[in-house]
């Protein structure tokens, strides 16, 4: 399509508006594409359609009330959002979290990672046209939602952590349910792989699509699987251990080519590593309280801190400033991994075809609730 056309024909570029109501922009992402035939010459990524001002709201809420707002950012991984926020405040107040609470937090965060990756896998495969994987992945995600419902009563926005620990201990028998789920999940991963990993069409659609070198990925601030897909060893769980990750053994899968296929393989491997972490967490679960010693009125001393955790999407950071006097943060800032990954979309899609645009939106795994906050 990109050949030189004869001057008789009009060869204008076609500007096409993808989103915000497009089936595969995963929410309300809008991309203005400039096309030559079907090849993308330039793109402008427009965000902000569900900007709810969570940062501004949080600056006017109680320290505890904010946990509720963090749920609404990455709504497919609410527990990791809670975790990141609570840990940041704990760091600011230098609160010791009981070991049992840290273990349960880790298990919850890893369950959440599996749930989030399930959703990613389903929608990513759907974007490329493999519709069955979508329902298979959702089937397993449903079980995780059930587990969360058992734990905290909610299925999507959990509000499942508190500053200093957890609101609840795990219910009796919950750990066995999680173990059973781990076994089931392990048996389901080959099912996804069978449909995709060695599928010729899948390989053609993902290999060599959206290649980004490790150096570029670091420069662009990519995080999480897109960064590891380019072979950069960067996992907050390993580099700056939080919760109980320093006590567990797990591997960080790395890609070599930095293409969509590598990112896919990495996330599939993360399923397995998450299961491994959950098992270790359940087996080594210490006894004890789940709530640390926290002052009745949470009011950190004046100061500021930045704390990051590894959310399913990448490095989720919170930058919080306390003025030491109010029961709300003076400045509450989220470093959303999806936002930073989405920034890498434009360099990725330029030069590719329209069909690849949806592949690449899928591969960087954005949740617009988190991008816009």
């Amino acid at each position: 399509m990109a050949t030189e056309a004869s001057p008789i024909f009009d060869t204008d570029e076609l500007v096409i508006n993808m989103g915000p109501q497009h089936p595969s922009t995963h929410g309300v992402l809008r991309i203005v594409l400039k096309l030559d035939g079907e090849r993308v010459i330039d793109a402008d990524v427009v965000i902000g359609y569900i900007h709810r001002g969570i940062e501004k709201l949080s600056e006017n809420r109680d320290w505890t009330q904010i946990i509720l707002l963090t749920d609404r950012m990455d709504y497919v991984a609410a527990a990791t959002n809670n975790l990141g926020y609570c840990e940041t405040v704990e760091k600011l107040m230098e609160i010791e979290v009981p070991r049992r609470a840290r273990y349960i937090r880790t298990v919850l965060a890893e369950l959440q990672r599996i749930a989030s990756h399930c959703l990613w896998l389903g929608t990513h495969a759907m974007d490329i046209g493999a519709m069955t994987v979508f329902l298979y992945a959702f089937r397993e995600r449903e079980l995780i939602l059930d587990l969360f419902e058992d734990y905290c009563g909610a299925r999507l926005t959990y509000n499942s952590m508190r500053i200093g620990g957890l609101p609840l201990d795990i219910p009796t028998g919950w750990d066995n349910k999680v173990r059973a789920f781990c076994d089931l999940m392990e048996s389901k991963i080959p099912e996804y792989e069978e449909l995709l990993t060695n599928n010729r069409i899948w390989l053609e659609r993902t290999r060599g699509v959206g290649v980004i070198s490790g150096e570029d990925a670091v420069g662009l601030g990519l995080c999480g699987p897109p960064l590891r897909g380019s072979g950069v060893y960067r996992d907050v769980r390993k580099d700056e251990p939080y919760a109980a990750y320093d006590e567990f053994e797990f591997d960080v899968p790395l890609g070599t080519n930095g293409d969509t296929y590598d990112r896919y393989l990495i996330r599939l491997e993360e399923f397995k590593q998450s299961i491994r972490i959950i098992r270790q967490g359940l087996d080594g679960m210490p006894e004890g309280p789940v709530m640390g010693k926290v002052p009745r009125l949470i009011k950190p001393k004046a100061g500021e801190t930045y704390h990051a955790i590894e959310s399913p999407k990448g490095e989720l950071g919170y930058f919080i400033v306390s003025d030491g006097r109010a029961t709300n943060p003076y400045r509450f800032r989220v470093r959303p991994p999806s936002f930073c990954n989405l920034q890498g979309l434009r360099p990725l899609i330029v030069g590719h075809l329209v069909a690849d645009v949806v592949t690449l939106i899928g591969t960087i795994d954005v949740v617009l609730g988190e991008v816009d906050r």
């Binding site: 079907e38 046209g129 069955t132 329902l135 329209v354």
Partner: protein, 332 residues
């Protein structure tokens, strides 16, 4: 008079109704089969096991508001779904559904050529629909459709040449009879051609994994983005009618039409107790199921990859197949 006009007209009326009804049930079958593949139930609300969904859907589509975009080319916009559906139905004129003369409307001596020519008209419906909508996504879809048509039409037609060489006739009935005489389905004689036609058939009917002109994840529905109501339903009918056509053609050409398996082996003669049309529909059903199964399993090809597959893989193989067939024909 009765022989030449009334009976064919009756046949046409019966066939047309049969095709349209089976198309509505095809949609139900597709939904059900895909649902089972995806560990869910599919439509369950309308009638027992959702059987009446097949009737509810057309009623819904007929009652829906029929919108024509203001900037659309009105005439072409209306004409496009008709152009798309009519060829798909016309083709049934030469498809022999059974051994008896009762089961086909006519047997013309260029039946296969007729099918190839008429089915290619159908894609104009898609191209025109995309163009007449005066909208960007449908336009991209119509470009894709025309590219796809050119790549696959050639490959499929070339492949069919080798079948024609083997059979020595273009008549659909003649081809089945040739298979009866040789005692082997051409699927065994021409396995390469069989696979090529099957792949090409998928591409020609715009079915997954070659459903680029639709590609709802990329082009938000492609050529029928701007269509609604009955006009959309016509496209829908055309797609499924085309599926049935391709299944029928593949059955006739490679699976011996209405013949029982291994027509030369007398030990299996008891299979002849089953009427010929049941054999035909059984085989056709296998292909229809295959189409649905593929849709549930495979991701979608990208447009340039599809072109590459067409031009760099299928056409060379098709040409090679003609050469081999020709040599074999001369030598044997």
């Amino acid at each position: 008079m009765i022989e030449t006009i009334v009976i064919p007209l009756l046949k046409i009326a019966v066939l047309l109704n049969a095709v349209l009804v089976s198309v509505t049930f095809m949609t139900l079958l597709e939904r059900k089969v895909i649902a089972w593949a995806q560990s869910r139930l599919g439509p369950m609300r309308v009638g027992p096991y959702g059987v009446l969904q097949a009737i509810a859907d057309p009623i819904k589509l007929i009652l829906k508001e029929d919108i024509t975009p203001v900037k659309a080319d009105r005439m072409m916009f209306t004409l496009a779904p008709i152009i798309s559906l009519v060829p798909a139905l016309v083709v049934f004129a030469v498809v022999p559904f059974g051994g008896d003369e009762l089961f086909y409307i006519t047997d013309i001596n260029v039946g296969l050529l007729f099918i190839i020519s008429v089915t290619s008209i159908g894609v104009y419906g898609i191209i025109l629909a995309g163009w007449a909508s005066n909208s960007k996504y449908p336009l991209l879809a119509s470009l894709r459709a025309s590219a796809q048509l050119i790549s696959y039409e050639i490959a499929v037609t070339m492949t069919l040449v080798s079948v024609i060489l083997t059979a020595g006739t273009l008549s659909m009935v003649g081809i089945v009879q040739a298979q009866q005489d040789s005692g082997l389905w051409y699927g065994f004689v021409q396995p390469v051609a069989f696979v090529l036609v099957l792949i090409g058939g998928l591409a020609e009917t715009n079915r997954a994994p070659f459903d680029m002109p639709e590609a709802e994840q990329e082009l938000t529905g492609g050529f029928h983005t701007e269509y609604s109501g009955m006009r959309f339903a016509l496209f829908f009918l055309a797609e499924y009618a085309n599926m049935i056509v391709i299944s029928a053609v593949v059955t006739v050409l490679f699976w011996g039409g209405w013949l029982r398996p291994f027509p030369s082996i007398d030990a299996l003669a008891f299979l002849d107790l089953i009427p010929s049309w049941i054999w035909f529909f059984g085989k056709m059903f296998v292909f229809l199921y295959l189409f649905i199964w593929i849709r549930a399993t495979l991701p979608r090809y990208r447009y340039d990859q599809l072109m590459r597959l067409g031009w760099k893989v299928l056409i060379p193989i098709a040409i090679g197949n003609i050469v081999v067939t020709g040599i074999a024909k001369v030598v044997l």
